[in-house]
Symmetry: C2
Subunit: 439 residues, 2 copies
């Protein structure tokens, strides 16, 4: 090991003077840092498990690559002075005791499973950084008041299975679902060393944790475009999906005059434009997407009689999602009227919005201030384990920039400097939260 | 045979007096008729070959059902005093000599192959009616000046193969194409008794025929809606197809703000509406259809980066089709600009418009007048063998109403009365054309 990396850096007091006073006080004038080089080495090393020729990572939840990667992660946990265990839901958790009596643990972590042919940073960064934070604390001789737990949540990409099990949001019928690895959730949990018959033992209640931090790549382009180093996540957006079925009448494209058509494709075209108009009509960061569309019968010379398309709405406010949907369906009724079609909506999927905790946001923003980097408060448009764990206690989430805003792709990339910075912010935030949280 | 059906009907001269004087003069005060009951019996009998449980007909071109049906059709031709033969392209042609020397033949007919799971009238009506016209002429002791040929064109639904071979529009490479029957065109032609190596012998030149009539169901709802008995086809529309590829950028639907998207689906939605607006912006019977659409990657939570959709335009004027396309592409460029996408057009298919002959239209309209039924001039939005044969001489086409405008479906239906009327109109038109055509 190269001890030169385990240093603290003195930030010029002139710089600190221009920033809001950190919550955890004067002791942080000497700014703690993690070992950024080690963090980046470990990120690279993780590519051994599921790394692809295209330069990305294919490490599906519950797969052999997932299992093999956890062996390395477990070794790194031990090196960081953590005691690893696998809970009943297959989550890998490395814990260390705190100094105070009767305080619940402070959690931080992420996941290491990937989407098919995914990137090298989504989940991996937050996992490795969490271990490096624990290791930095140990190497710098800092023992926190709270017990700490570094969490590697199982099968995030499949649907937050590990974190939802812990927060009690896992439905029994989901055990039988088949995941991208080919295994059912039940077999997958067992494969990772969990006990699907005893999932109740993995469940925690509100108050069982002091708080939870997750560092993650942004997966969008806002930070890069605004030249900002750190995103302070104000919450994880709620998501609703619908299947929209538009019914007209299929007919001969040559013999049916324009004014006699009941063209489901025309109605769909106007609907797609409507969704865009309604979503953009009010200020805010809400998004609306039609990503999938199927037209039947689907021949160039037949007027489509049926179109089924998806509608997805996301916002930090569930009420705003509902209001957008109401506005869309109201205006779609006029499209139905003008095209001789009908619209039916089937709600398929709901993730409720998960706001982050104001104190957790504050310590993240302060960490950016202490490290002299720019930060902005922003929503997370993507889903994360943090939204499940937010049910159990105060949640805070840190973003670093994604180059080109690209994610879920082999081209996913964040600079080594930003990855290391993310680890530093997490370390500062953990220190500040440990000092500040009332319990 | 029931001789009572072979009667002529005297139309009250009061009625005739209110109509334009028929071209073929006073001899038609006694209005000739075909045997409508026999025609409808033969239409039913044809269902023996490829009739489906759903009440329609599945008789693909070059299939066993097609071949078997031709045996019955050949027998009916013989009963009508026609001499049947199969030409090199697999067309079944029943001919009879005329009284005048050196006149080219007058052709009439249609096809008996169907689309998959199609109806009982498309093609069948025109074929049976043509035979019944020949039989009525024979039974009524009328021999025409012109030789007559009743034509059953091979594989119309597959792409006018038989009629295009005769009119010299068949490209050599098409022999290798696989048809819905599973046979290549080459094997299919041979299966029907043609000689694919000698297709040149089937080709006719302009002037080789005196004219061509085809009776057909409308396949649309204009006649029914306007309560009209007969359509006088002013021409068969030209058809152009394009594949339109819209390229934006696929991205995460949660993390990509609305103003940073290059959403190919949004561009497609606006394009679909644009096609409808442009086509309807000018008076006329032109139609435009987007019938097929594929969005990639096609997930509810991913902004589509690519959309490929079809564009089909039809009109009697090829120049109008080109003008519509120019207007569409011009306005689509503005959509591309506003959505950060690009549009590319690949022309896939062209059928040039085929106007009918003024004299042939006139004799059809006169026939409706003589029979005391309503008629209207209208385009054929669908393609027909008549558009190929129009290359060889004057073409006329007769429509009768389709109930509900439905075609290419087991629900395709025309009333027995309208079917018989169509045969009568065809008979009158043939008589008048025989008398009127200069050669």
């Amino acid at each position: 090991m190269d001890r030169r990396r385990f240093t603290s850096t003195l930030v010029a007091s002139a710089l600190l003077g221009s920033l809001p006073r950190p919550l955890w006080g004067a002791s942080t004038a000497r700014v703690a840092r993690i070992d950024g080089a080690r963090l980046n080495r470990r990120l690279l090393a993780l590519r051994e498990f599921g790394g692809t020729d295209s330069g990305g990572t294919h490490r599906l939840g519950y797969s052999e690559a997932d299992q093999a990667a956890r062996v390395s992660v477990t070794q790194w946990m031990r090196a960081a002075g953590l005691t690893p265990r696998v809970d009943e839901a297959g989550n890998l958790i490395g814990s260390r005791a705190g100094t105070a009596r009767d305080l619940p643990p402070l959690l931080f972590g992420s996941h290491i499973d990937s989407v098919p042919d995914g990137g090298n940073y989504d989940g991996n960064l937050g996992t490795i950084a969490a271990i490096d934070v624990a290791q930095a604390l140990q190497e710098q001789g800092r023992t926190l008041r709270h017990p700490i737990e570094v969490c590697v949540w199982a099968n995030e990409e499949g649907g937050l299975y590990g974190s939802r099990a812990v927060s009690g949001q896992f439905a029994a019928h989901e055990l039988a679902l088949t995941t991208t690895s080919g295994k059912t959730v039940e077999d997958g949990i067992r494969f990772l060393g969990g006990d699907p018959a005893r999932l109740d033992r993995a469940v925690r209640r509100r108050g069982d944790i002091a708080g939870y931090f997750e560092l993650h790549i942004e997966q969008g382009g806002v930070l890069e475009r605004t030249n900002t180093a750190v995103g302070v996540v104000e919450g994880i957006v709620g998501i609703k999906w619908w299947d929209v079925t538009i019914t007209g009448m299929a007919n001969h494209a040559g013999t049916t005059p324009m004014d006699q058509r009941r063209d489901a494709m025309l109605a769909a075209g106007r609907f797609i434009d409507l969704v865009n108009r309604v979503v953009r009509a009010t200020p805010g960061s809400q998004v609306g997407t039609v990503g999938r569309l199927r037209a039947l019968p689907g021949a160039p010379n037949v007027i489509p009689g049926t179109v089924v398309c998806s509608l997805e709405l996301r916002d930090l406010s569930d009420a705003k999602i509902d209001a957008l949907f109401t506005a869309i369906t109201r205006d779609a009724a006029a499209i139905a009227e003008s095209t001789g079609t009908s619209f039916a909506y089937q709600e398929l999927h709901i993730n409720e919005a998960a706001p982050s905790d104001p104190l957790m946001r504050r310590v993240i923003a302060d960490a950016a201030g202490a490290l002299g980097v720019s930060a902005r408060v922003m929503p997370s448009g993507a889903g994360h384990d943090a939204q499940a764990i937010a049910q159990l206690g105060p949640m805070g989430m840190i973003f670093i920039p994604s180059v080109g805003g690209i994610s879920h792709s082999p081209k996913e990339f964040s600079t080594p400097e930003h990855c290391a910075l993310g680890g530093d912010i997490l370390l500062h935030a953990v220190l500040a939260a440990d000092a500040t949280l009332s319990r």
